[in-house]
Amino acid sequence: MSKKYKIVQAFNLPVEYETLEQIEETHNYISDKLILDAVNGVNVVARDLHEVSKLRQSWLQRTTDTLFGNSKKRQDLINENLIEGLNACSQWLQDHDQHISRIDHKISIVASELSRTQDEILKFYAQHQTLKSRVTELKEVFFEFETSTKQQISYLRDYIRNIDIRTQAMDALDLEISRLTANKYDTLALPLQIYTALDNIKSGYGGMYYDSLTNEKEKKEFQERIANEFITHFKSKCDLDSYMDYEQLAEKISTLQPIQKDSLAFISTQHYNTMITNNGYPEATDLVSIMTSYEKNVALQEVDKKSNIANFITYNDYLTVTLQEHLKA
């Protein structure tokens, strides 16, 4: 920090050192000395000398002052201080004039910037008005965009979900085929094996996948896939084009554990009721329900009475009917 600034600080002058340095680079101000000459030289020095001069009025004082040159010396000092003070005032005025000129120049810059800013704001206002008129149009565009986006998202969500469910459905189908291949359902008669395996598929992911499909073609493809898998499996066990023997079926059912029989009866009866409620036409389901709900002879009589149950049906047709009844109910 320069010494000058220390003095400035000591004099409590409100100016930052950096400010002082920068401003003195660009503008010329009246020197401190001239200000001191004007303020101190006139108000203090010239006044003091003038007061002394006024006091020395007696004959003796005037004579001695003249004799020793004191009055002239005093007057010369008064004059010099007044002249220098006036000179300082004149320069101070010039300094202020220059300062005012600089202020005027700055005002012209500010006014020019203000005018330009005003033009820019008017331009902005015009742009704003145009935009305002297009708000409705923009609103519609945004709405369309929103709707379209929602649809796209919904489609994507469904697509992703379908991919997932389809995989699960195929796994469920593979699982049932594996169980059949591993003879897990061997205690059941072949029609009941078909019914039970299809029911497991329909009650799990297979049914969920089928219900989620909106495209008839895809539904048909899934249905054919199940049918093909079952045909492939069962054609090695029997002749699928041969007719089912209801007496043999009833006989086989009568050998089941009561709990197995009751379970099948409950499931098939529920299935039957649902189809009736949905205005369906149960055939295979009704057959299984009757066969598992009654004793052998009663069951055969009941089947015989039912017009919706064909007296002669091949395994192949039974498979197709059972599959359709499961997928639709």
Partner: protein, 337 residues
């Protein structure tokens, strides 16, 4: 433009007991937080200045000087040496007597009686020496602010008295830096600066007999107001002078490029030619108070004027910055959107 290195000097004029006014002046400096880089003084200004130079800090010195002046007022500041007083008075009376031829006889007689002690005064310097030893010890002076005193080479009591009365302008001022002397001569030169003819002995320093600085450079009060060494030797750019006379012939305009603030006593502060000898408590208190009031008023008026300038500089700087920033922003809204 490179800023000029600046330095503040303070000049304390001589004036005997009126030096109490300088204690008030220093009190004002203390209140305004003004701290100088160098000092100069003559006569009582040299005594006050020696305490200032040794103690350095304006706040301490202001309080200390006020106490010193009150002590001086309540004790015997001017002590007579009866024998010296008689001999000097005889010489002066004889010189101004209409019986001039008789003077020669008397002078011859007294010269023989005094053994060529024509540069002696009637007062002892003991009180001043006590103050110096107590408040301006040599070791502190050596480490203190650069300090100059104004002295005049003595030409004997008669010529020195004529100089004091303004009847002879033959005296030449020597400005001596106290710290440049050997320690034995430091107090001597300060006492020499205050050695008025007839009152005090001339003091021998470096083979020269010195007396009060006020006896020389009378045309511009250069001896009593020793600004010269502060400007020429210390390169002070700012000087504050405390005068102790009404209508001092000090001419500020002889010092180009130096920022000078003069503190001159309000007219009527000193009313008698005997004021330099009045070390009475009523006068001392009055002058200390007046010195304080005058200095505060003059300095505040001066600073207010300088303040106005620097406020103008600051505000202009801010407006320059603001306008530059405005221009740099280049506020503009694009044509297309």
């Amino acid at each position: 433009m490179e800023m000029k290195k600046t330095k503040l000097g303070i000049v304390l004029s001589g004036g005997g007991a009126k030096g109490a006014y300088e204690a008030g002046f220093l009190k004002a400096l203390s209140e305004l937080n003004i701290q100088p880089d160098a000092l100069a003084g003559t006569s009582i200004g040299a005594l006050n200045g020696s305490v200032y130079a040794a103690q350095k800090d304006t706040k301490n010195v202001a309080k200390m000087l006020e106490d010193i002046w009150h002590d001086m007022a309540s004790s015997e500041a001017l002590k007579f040496d009866k024998k010296k007083a008689f001999l000097n008075i005889v010489e002066v009376i004889a010189f101004f007597s209409p019986l001039a031829p008789v003077h020669r006889v008397v002078k011859t007689t007294t010269t023989i009686l005094r053994g060529c002690r024509s540069q002696e005064g009637v007062l002892t310097t003991e009180p001043a020496e006590n103050i110096l030893e107590k408040y301006a010890p040599v070791e502190k002076l050596l480490k203190g602010l650069p300090f100059y005193v104004g002295v005049t080479e003595s030409s004997g009591n008669m010529i020195d008295t004529l100089r004091f009365l303004g009847l002879s302008h033959s005296g030449i001022t020597d400005y001596i830096k106290v710290q440049s002397l050997n320690t034995e001569d430091m107090y001597k030169i300060i006492l020499a600066s205050a050695a008025l003819p007839l009152l005090f002995d001339a003091v021998t320093v470096n083979g020269k007999n010195y007396r009060d600085g006020c006896l020389s450079s009378l045309d511009n009060a250069g001896g009593n107001t020793p600004i010269k060494p502060l400007v020429e030797n210390e390169q002070c750019t700012h000087i504050i002078i405390c005068h102790l006379d009404h209508g001092s012939y000090f001419n500020r305009h002889e010092w180009k490029n130096v920022n000078i603030i003069e503190i001159r006593p309000t007219f009527g502060t000193f009313s008698s030619d005997l004021d330099p000898l009045r070390f009475s408590i009523d006068k001392i208190d009055l002058w200390i108070e007046q010195g304080y009031k005058d200095a505060v008023k003059i300095l505040k008026d001066t600073f207010a004027a300088l303040n106005g300038k620097y406020e103008r500089i600051t505000s202009e700087y801010r407006s320059d910055q603001a306008i530059q920033s405005l221009i740099n922003k280049k506020f503009s809204i694009p044509d297309d959107y």
